[in-house]
């Protein structure tokens, strides 16, 4: 909307980050954080698709006991590939690398991240790592699950060499992304953008980046040691050579528990932004919500042992880990309660992204509460390594991260592509995913409580009913995902042109950049005078005929124009 503010050029006929140079080379060598974000979006969606197809095969096999569509070998590889792809190639990079890259510099009022070339490097490391991991399939079988517990993992074959190397390389990518964001958030904020005015998505990415930088090196050294264990038999983890398999588990979870907060913290940030924007209300307890991310990040380092309550660690250690595990529920609860309070006396609008935020509250709460149940020592003894765990982590990862990611993707889609998606289809797909998801994974809580172990190719007949439900659910959910992919792609060609600020949000990427931002985001560096959610300070922003998308002409210009004084 050209008339909105002098800093925002319209999206037709002008130069934007997509059309300023259309050659393939300009994409492959780009240092533009927005283009890198888009490339990540494509690559990571493919990884998600591949992992999803594996999941559908898993569910199909489990439709009935015994061999349904594949034998035990194929099944064991299927869930391993599913886990590895979903964790290392999809969910860990997904939010920081796609939405973080695209949105954070704009929310900060910066032209790019601090180290654009390292950003590009980290994309290629991601790609390389994913390819190396998958090439393991050509070498031989990979089974054992995404946790690769020694000594089994070092006995299966040489493909473990490729997987460890791939994970190492992807880990490097994750470290570099995190490092880039920490520096960017510290050093590149626009004038006036104090820590207390930051969008909560920025806060959450900041906390995420801390975890990425501090935890990932440990998985790096762990996989190096595992690699050498297979290659040379260095005897650190393999008991046959005098090593200790429980030590491997400590190393592994020291990273992999904090990693679950790499997955969920950015999701929290997105939910904050969504609830703020669609309630048009300042996030209640802003500071608590912001700082709870940091608290979660730090507490997350102290609970890894809750994955090992029955694996032979000392009872004292288990006790301490259990205690700290509960503490994590508290900052998380603070967030949830503040989100709900934000809707209280707000002005809530149910557009597709907001629907995802509500689904998130539902599914993630279930995931979180079941996490607390697992933290209870005596209860975990019964539930460990059963389908209860599988259900728990799909509720947190899919019901948390993926649902939030879908919300964020829909929210920022107009900014990325300049196109609106079809709202009706958006709601239908959200409904399909909500129903399909719960149908798939809720029965697994029951199956798990009743004793069905995970990673089971075959299962006793008493679990047939629950598994059939679960498989049917997975079809509904898959239909939802394909529908989304379909209408989003469709919108690229036939979608309505998006205004600069279709949701009437107040963060800089909406108020100060065009939909399809220009290559350097801002013509003039914005100066910030209020917090990211101070909707009550700019009521005039929403007056006028075409309001609601916040693009109501003149008044907005007056609000924003005086800020934009700092010339390039």
């Amino acid at each position: 909307m050209t008339e909105m503010t002098p800093s925002v050029s319209g999206n037709s006929g002008t130069v934007n980050y997509l059309n300023h140079d259309k050659s393939i080379k300009s994409w492959l060598l780009t240092r533009d954080h927005k283009r890198i974000g888009i490339m990540y979006l494509v690559a990571i969606s493919l990884a998600f698709l591949a992992g999803g197809i594996m999941a559908m095969l898993i569910r199909l096999e489990l439709l009935s006991p015994g061999e349904t569509i594949m034998g035990p070998d194929a099944y064991n590889q299927a869930f391993t590939i599913h886990g590895v792809l979903m964790i290392f190639a999809f969910i860990i990079p997904a939010l920081p690398a796609i939405l973080g890259n695209f949105v954070i510099p704009m929310q900060l009022g910066a032209k790019d991240v601090a180290f654009p070339r390292i950003n590009l490097l980290s994309f290629y490391l991601y790609l390389g790592g994913a390819v190396i991991t998958l090439s393991a399939l050509l070498v031989g079988r990979i089974d054992g699950g995404w946790t690769f517990y020694a000594p089994y993992s070092v006995q299966v074959g040489d493909s473990i060499l490729f997987v460890t190397m791939g994970v190492f390389v992807m880990g490097f990518s994750s470290i570099l992304t995190g490092l880039n964001f920490i520096v960017t958030i510290h050093k590149m904020r626009a004038p006036g953008l104090t820590w207390n005015r930051l969008p909560l998505f920025v806060w959450s990415i900041y906390a995420t980046a801390i975890v990425q930088v501090l935890a990932t090196p440990v998985i790096a050294i762990t996989v190096i040691l595992l690699f050498l264990e297979r290659l040379l038999g260095i005897g650190i983890f393999d008991p046959a050579l005098g090593g200790d398999p429980v030590l491997f588990q400590h190393f592994f979870w020291f990273y992999s528990h904090p990693a679950v907060y790499v997955m969920i913290l950015p999701a929290f940030g997105i939910i904050s932004d969504l609830i703020g924007a669609f309630s048009r209300h300042r996030i209640v307890g802003y500071r608590f919500v912001a700082l709870s991310s940091i608290a979660i990040a730090f507490l997350g380092f102290l609970v890894w042992g809750h994955h090992m309550f029955v694996s032979g660690q000392s009872a004292l250690a288990s006790t301490v880990f259990s205690l700290i595990t509960y503490l994590i529920g508290i900052p998380t609860g603070v967030k949830i309660i503040n989100w709900i309070s934000t809707m209280y006396r707000g002005s809530v609008q149910l557009r597709t992204p907001m629907i995802y935020a509500l689904i998130f509250l539902f599914t993630f709460s279930i995931g979180g509460f079941t996490g607390i149940m697992l933290g209870v020592l005596a209860v975990d003894v019964h539930l460990h390594d059963t389908y209860f765990i599988v259900a728990h982590f799909h509720y947190t990862m899919l019901g948390g991260n993926v649902i939030a990611a879908l919300g964020g993707l829909h929210f920022w889609w107009p900014k990325m592509t300049g196109k609106m998606f079809n709202e009706t289809l958006g709601r239908i797909a959200a409904g399909l995913i909500f129903i399909g998801f719960n149908l798939t994974f809720f029965p697994q809580f029951i199956a798990g409580s009743r004793g069905m172990p995970r990673r089971y190719f075959d299962y006793p007949s008493e679990f047939v009913g629950l598994n059939v439900l679960s498989t049917y659910g997975s079809w509904i959910m898959a239909a939802g995902f394909f529908l989304i992919a379909g209408y989003l792609l469709f919108s690229l060609f036939k979608g309505k042109k998006a205004p600069a600020n279709p949701w009437g949000a107040l963060t800089l990427e909406w108020t100060h950049t065009a939909s399809i931002p220009e290559p350097h985001n801002f013509t003039v560096t914005p100066v910030v005078t209020r917090g990211a959610y101070d909707y009550h300070l700019v009521p005039e922003f929403y007056a006028g005929p075409s309001s609601g998308d916040g693009s109501s002409a003149g008044l907005a210009t007056q609000e924003v124009a005086p800020e934009t004084t700092h010339e390039k």
Partner: protein, 310 residues
């Protein structure tokens, strides 16, 4: 599904199971209440404060430090209650009573072996007397496994080169499935077993019977199922993962390297203890080598049994 189990948990059949269930149900109920509060207030606010006018911008609401503090303190108290409770049950779970009857458990890809203090052994089936605390001293011969009996609410990893232990006291006579819950390779989901809880007299009889000698063919037949041979080998001529084993004795076998041999006693023995030595044409070399650790008596019995199959 038994009459005593809730829809969530299987029947409680050990002395500690009830304690665990009480805790489980408490946490489940508290969580359900909190969850309901989250969802009900969300839905209520979404409807009550839905956007009526695009122009309307709500006022900022007053924040209260006290309220924020309450969100922090109340859950903390709640979680501390749960923790203390969970801790106490956990201590019970991990301290076997001093008068426990000890059974040694050995896990191997992919079966369970049990050794009783009287020298008796059993595979896959764990015989225990009812109403007596049993302590299992467990170790693994290869990779990590995990011993799980849902009805008893017990589980513990079984690790190579180290002993771990777990205890239970069965409260009722019956049969309860043993699962392996740590991924241990191809047949992980078939690594099942059964706890057979019997009365003390039956248990003593069973122990006596074990020490008597069975005829080799009968012993072989028993071993054949105990060691899960039937998972891969049919005895009715049908093809499973491995070749059917009836009518094998005396015929000429062809191997994947083109060689042939007559299936005599030695060939049968070798096929069991060193299956990779001669791989039957048309079949993958998928048989595990762990059977090399069977005793001579057991192997003799298996061979005798295989010879007896028509």
């Amino acid at each position: 599904m038994g009459d005593q189990g809730s829809s969530w948990l299987p029947d409680a059949m050990s002395s500690v199971a009830r304690d665990v269930d009480a805790l489980f149900n408490f946490v489940l109920i508290v969580s359900t209440i909190l969850f309901a509060a989250v969802i009900v207030s969300t839905i209520y606010f979404v409807i009550r404060y839905r956007r009526r006018s695009d122009q309307y911008v709500p006022e900022r609401i007053k924040e209260s430090k006290w309220l924020e503090a309450a969100w922090i303190i109340l859950p903390t108290i709640l979680t501390m209650i749960i923790f203390t409770w969970g801790f106490r049950v956990f201590i019970t779970l991990s301290t076997p009573p001093p008068d426990s009857y000890q059974i040694t458990v050995r896990a191997k890809q992919w079966f369970w072996e049990f050794e009783y203090s009287e020298g008796a052994t059993s595979t896959s089936d764990l015989y225990v007397p009812v109403g007596k605390p049993i302590k299992l001293l467990m170790s693994s011969g290869d990779v990590i496994h995990s011993f799980f009996v849902p009805e008893f609410r017990i589980k513990h990893d079984v690790i190579p080169n180290r002993y771990t232990s777990v205890w239970f006291e069965a409260t009722e006579v019956g049969e309860y499935r043993i699962y392996c819950t740590e991924y241990c390779g191809q047949q992980h989901s078939m690594m099942l077993g059964m706890v057979r809880v019997v009365t003390q007299e039956e248990f003593d009889d069973w122990l006596d019977e074990q020490s008597q000698d069975l005829p080799p063919v009968e012993l072989g037949e028993r071993l054949f199922t105990q060691y899960n041979c039937q998972v891969c080998h049919a005895t009715d001529g049908s093809r499973l993962i491995g070749p059917p084993l009836n009518g094998l004795f005396g015929i000429t076998r062809e191997f994947d390297d083109g060689m042939t041999a007559v299936a005599d006693d030695n060939y049968l023995r070798e096929s069991i203890v060193n299956p990779g030595a001669k791989v039957v044409a048309g079949y993958p070399n998928a048989m595990v080598a762990t059977y090399g650790s069977l005793s001579t008596k057991q192997i003799d019995a298996l061979v005798a049994y295989l010879k007896s199959l028509e």
